[in-house]
């Protein structure tokens, strides 16, 4: 990951820690990560902060056997695209779930976890991961 300043990370805490995106009050579209303006209504849309759903369904998944720098301790791990049901899809790790339950269509819910721990400057990054719930 980028050996960056703290600002690089805290700027994104609301989204990483609390799944906070935004919502266009004009056309009712949800955005995650939040957008600067609504891509449907453009300047005419009125965006307001909004919590995203913390549950969803697996759209697709893969087991990663060769991970990037910062993920050495947890490889192999599962990554998945999750449909939150409000038009938003996000990419996340699936944790705390037995291998046979990680399937397309499985229900999942958000967890709060450590994401990366070997940043050279000692920054530990936290954020959302998901687990299968049924």
């Amino acid at each position: 990951m980028v050996e960056g300043s703290v600002a690089l990370h805290w700027r994104r805490y609301p989204e990483r820690y609390s799944l906070i995106g935004n919502h266009c009050a004009t056309c009712k579209t949800d955005y995650f990560p939040p957008r600067v303006f609504c891509h449907n209504c453009r300047r005419k849309g009125k965006l307001i902060v909004k919590d995203m759903p913390r549950t969803g369904k697996i759209v697709a998944f893969t087991e990663v056997f060769v991970g990037p720098v910062g993920f050495e301790n947890e490889t192999p791990y599962f990554l998945a695209l999750i449909d939150l049901g409000n038009g938003v899809i996000l990419l996340t790790q699936i944790v705390d779930s037995s291998r046979d339950r990680i399937q397309i269509g499985a229900n999942v819910k958000m967890m709060f976890r450590k994401i990366q721990d070997n940043d050279k400057e000692g920054v530990i990054n936290y954020g959302y991961k998901f687990k299968v719930t049924e």
Binding site: M1, V2, R12, P33, V59, A60, F61, T62, E63, V64, F65, V66, G67, P68, V69, G70, F71, E74, Y77, L79, A80, L81, V88, I89, L90, L91, T92, Q93, I104, I115, Q116, N125, G127
Partner: protein, 390 residues
């Protein structure tokens, strides 16, 4: 959309060796590729009026930006304008399109288009990080996504929806390694069987080591010229009859579909319309097979095969050199190698050789119309060009 533009042709091409070129720097590779392009004697260096160079991540790979100026310097072509373009793994294809536009516009008559990447001066981990910059740093890489992982997600959806199998994907790799046996500049000269690919170990399921293109050093150079002048200078002029480029969401999460790359479809639509051609007219194509699933997506999205049937077509040999359409006769990214910024330019060089009938043992018989397809990242940029003998 295209109005009153001039016709543009390729009149020369040059490639460095593709591979782990530990004894050559970025600078040496681009100079050697240029020297080879100019060795055909159709133009002198001093006739070149501008340079467009594609490089993806030189800042991370060699600590160097300002790549346009560096290329002009290495080629001894100062003080002409020299511009770097970047579109991740599609940097070369987009550089070609800028060169095409510059000549088509009437601004220049003769330009050089270069592409290069020096990837082995850093560790594999550093290279993977640099390449990760083609995806979304904030929503993909941060969460542990690698490029194999992103394409693995696309592969899983394609398998789910169309019954594509891992063997079908493997067949792309087998065919491309076979083709590369006859390409002297290719990184690999080694054949593999489907079983070899199947046994090569998962990188990100369902993609295995031999489904993935390698880390490669390499450079490629083309000389473009306005077509009427090109025909006077050379009997090998290959006209660029269509050019299309499109974008899509940087991250996979923003895509409308996960079983096709919309940017490829749109870029191909524009390029083929401009060329007044259909997918069936294409004899030979260099497509973006950074992973085997990417070749299957490509041959469907470009319209060579019906959506969902690309895996079957590949396994059935229809993309072999004398199949329905010759796909990746150079060996593709998979076996010729994938120096990211060079790839899109190398693809056009291969089509230049094929349409001139000088591709040796990998020659597609009677090749008349060619196509190149270059993708950035997981599909956020695609650029397609169509070619025919001028």
């Amino acid at each position: 959309m295209v109005k009153k533009m001039r016709s543009v042709s390729i009149i020369a091409a040059g490639l460095s060796k593709f591979g782990e070129n530990w004894d050559e720097s970025y600078r040496q590779m681009i100079a050697k590729a240029a020297l080879e392009a100019l060795s055909s004697n159709v133009v002198e260096g001093k006739e070149i009026e501008a340079i467009f160079g594609g490089t993806m991540a030189s800042g991370r790979f060699i600590g160097q930006e300002h790549i346009g100026a560096l290329i002009a310097d290495q080629l001894g072509l100062n003080p002409i304008a020299s511009t770097r373009v970047e579109a991740a793994c599609a940097s070369g294809g987009v550089a070609l399109r800028q060169g095409f536009t510059a000549v088509a516009s009437g601004m220049y008559d003769i330009v050089a288009v270069g592409g290069a990447e020096k990837m082995t001066d850093v560790s594999t981990e550093q290279a993977a990080f640099a390449l990760g910059g083609a995806g979304d740093q904030e929503t993909e890489l941060f969460h542990g996504a690698t490029f194999p992982a992103l394409y693995a997600l696309l592969a899983q959806k394609h398998m789910e929806k169309f019954g594509t199998t891992e063997e079908m994907m493997a067949s792309c790799a087998v065919k491309n390694h076979h083709n590369a046996m006859h390409n002297p500049i290719a990184q690999f000269h080694k054949e593999f069987s489907i079983a070899d690919v199947m046994n090569s170990g998962y990188i990100a399921s369902p993609l295995k080591l031999l489904d993935c293109s390698p880390i490669t050093d390499g450079a490629a150079v083309l000389i473009l010229c306005e077509t009427s002048k090109a025909k006077k200078l050379s009997d090998q002029a290959i006209e660029i009859v269509g050019s299309g480029q499109a974008s899509d969401s940087l991250a996979l999460t923003g895509r409308k579909s996960l079983t096709q790359l919309d940017a490829t479809m749109l870029a191909a639509k524009h390029a083929l319309a401009q060329a007044k051609a259909t997918p069936k007219d294409i004899d030979v194509a260099e497509v973006h097979d950074c992973f085997t699933i990417a070749e299957i997506l490509a041959i469907e999205d470009l319209g060579f095969f019906k959506k969902g049937s690309g895996g079957t077509a590949s396994l059935g040999g229809e993309t072999e050199i004398n199949g329905q359409v010759a796909v990746n006769p150079s060996g593709g990214l998979k076996a010729c190698g994938h120096p990211v910024g060079a790839t899109g330019v190398k693809q056009a060089a291969e089509i230049f050789y094929q349409l001139n009938g000088i591709a040796g043992k990998r020659q597609r018989k009677d090749a008349e119309i060619g196509l190149t397809h270059n993708v950035g990242g997981s599909g956020a940029t695609a650029v397609v060009h169509v070619y025919k003998k001028a």
